[in-house]
């Protein structure tokens, strides 16, 4: 076994020689050996830690909710602008990931072009406010509706397909939307993006500091979590789960698969539209590069990392994938590398995600 590991590390070093040069490859060998050693040590230690029993704490659920909301409300008073900014972004991504969770986690429809809906929401909001002269609050529901409708439109071709084909078609849809945003200069101003999106007002009170946005996004996150949770435990949610587990059986139980899939796509896109509009309102600037394929992958990663179908898991996943890269700014170059490797390791060692959904 140990010989095999050493041989394997040698093989990897050999493979990377053309790219890293002989020096790099020679350094890679001890590096990988050390990493393997660390892995073994951590694994041994984790066995010891598992034997330690933590005292059971009974938590009053209601008290816990109230406490966490108080903490969330008070949080921006203690943080500087940079952290608030990051947390706002995380909040927007939580809404997005919740939306994808409806499609991917509940109904099991792999959508690899989810950033397209995000883009539709953001661009609708941007265009409605800058071109049509609407205020943020009238543009927001309109752009959410437009996005939900675009979800419905994509569902038409997508519903006849299963599994991998669906993934590829949604990926294609995402790419087509990005290309349109990039090339339809007269409407979207191409790669330059749209600037000058006005800040939202509430009763004549301009929301232009980060703290205001924090509360705005927080309210929407709470609404999203609440609504998605209620839908999950409703008949609709059950029907989605049934479709995810076995389409034929679901059909046999009298569930209309097509209708529920339409609903999943539209409902998922709805949240993406909300997140997009919030993003446009916060950044006051949108450009096609915010909605690339990598963005779709990132959102999918949040859902998968946290645990497919689990709402707390998805929130955790979105938080980790937004906060962690910010904390590791110095290693910025390596973060995508780590994300790729992390996805593979995750699938191999813990395919259910961090918080498994039963």
């Amino acid at each position: 076994m140990k010989n095999k590991i050493v041989l394997f590390i040698l093989w990897i070093s050999f493979l990377s020689t053309p790219f890293m040069g002989t020096k790099g490859a020679l350094l890679l060998f001890p590096g990988l050996c050390l990493a393997y050693g660390a892995f073994v040590i951590i694994k041994r230690l984790s066995v010891h830690f598992r034997k330690i029993k933590l005292p059971e704490i009974s938590v009053n659920k209601k008290a816990a909710y109230v406490l966490s909301i108080i903490i969330l409300l008070a949080l921006p008073l203690f943080l500087n602008d940079y952290y608030i900014d990051v947390i706002i972004l995380a909040g927007i991504y939580i809404i997005l990931a919740l939306g994808l969770n409806v499609v991917l986690g509940f109904s099991g429809l792999l959508n690899l072009g989810f950033a397209a809906f995000y883009a539709v929401g953001a661009y609708s909001c941007a265009l409605l406010t800058t071109r049509a002269g609407l205020g943020f609050w009238s543009a927001l529901p309109l752009s959410v509706i437009i996005t939900a409708l675009s979800g419905l439109i994509l569902a038409f071709p997508a519903l006849r397909l299963r599994g991998d084909y669906l993934a590829i078609v949604t990926l294609g849809f995402g790419e087509i939307v990005r290309l349109i945003l990039n090339n339809w200069d007269s409407l979207t101003k191409g790669p330059n993006g749209i600037t000058g999106i006005p800040a939202p007002f509430i009763f004549g009170f301009k929301l232009n500091t980060l703290m205001h946005y924090y509360y705005l996004v927080l309210i929407f996150v709470i609404i999203a979590v609440f609504v998605v949770r209620r839908v999950y435990y409703s008949r609709t949610g059950r029907a989605w789960l049934a479709i995810r587990e076995d389409e034929t059986a679901a059909e046999a139980m009298g569930i209309n698969n097509t209708n529920f899939k339409f609903l999943a796509f539209t409902f998922g896109a709805f949240w993406a539209g909300l997140a997009g509009a919030l993003f446009a309102g916060k950044m006051r600037f949108v450009s096609p590069e915010s909605f690339s394929f990598m963005e779709s992958v990132l959102i999918a990663c949040m859902v998968i990392l946290g645990g497919l179908g689990s709402i707390p898991g998805v929130i955790l996943g979105a938080f980790i994938l937004i906060i962690l890269p910010e904390m590791l700014r110095e290693f910025q170059l390596y973060r995508m590398l780590a994300l790729g490797a992390g996805l593979v390791l995750m699938m191999v060692f813990r395919p259910g995600g961090l918080i498994k959904n039963r």
Binding site: A167, G340, A341, M347
Partner: protein, 295 residues
Amino acid sequence: MFFQQVINGLTVGGVYALIALGYTMVYGILELINFAHGEIYMIGAYLGIIFLGVFTTLGLTEYSLTLSLLLTFIFSVFFCSAYGFTIEKLAYKPLRNAPRLSPLISAIGVSIFLQNYVMLTQGATDKVFPHILETHRIEFFNATMTTLQVFIIITSLLLMGLLHIFVMKTKTGKAMRAVAQDKVMASLLGINIDRIISVTFIIGSGLAAVAGLMVAMYYGLVNYSIGYIVGIKAFAAAVLGGIGSIPGAILGGFVLGIIESLGASFLSSEYKDAYAFVVLIIILLIRPKGLLGKS
């Protein structure tokens, strides 16, 4: 103009077809979209530049250009095959019995990893393929064709022919077809499935390496991000022809290449990358099994 675009389309189509073969073979056997396949193609292009650079410093290119090009091809194919083999062992084999979603996510992970690995080691800027080949222009009718284009079309056709013979005539090829039909039955009949899957990955990656090298020679520029879009297009080609079918992948590659170059010149070049997806969606709606797919 029309004829010229068809020739350009055939050149690009040959490349798409070579990559599509890798997709279709893996899909036929594992039912997995190997997202990392496009990255293997990109690695092939990079390896071509790296090895040719090494041979230039060694003085081999001055001694004999043909020999050094041949060696570049051999080395790139070897390394790419090794990459394909290793990726399969590391990222797909442990997930053989997992739900369908897991290997797909793992494939996306590998793809992201390889892209960034190449970007970190080779830099984010475009790399230039050394301009050492002299290309002659051949004029006929009212179109021109460079010798490089002839070379690309002939090489891809030749490799496809070889692959066809391999899959149809040899014992390993027959075993591959058996595994694609029914994995359990094939293993009961004494076929080593792991070995066959490895062979599939090795051959597919080798073909992608050749495609990458030829594209590097054709366009002269390579970037770490070229793999993703070409990979998706090649997959579209595989679906177009009927996934799992080798002649289908070849046909799909050529058809897609021609559609793309005609579309770029007669419709709009800005939406060049979108044609593949539009064609893909239309095909999946009208004929989900593809042009040559079995129903």
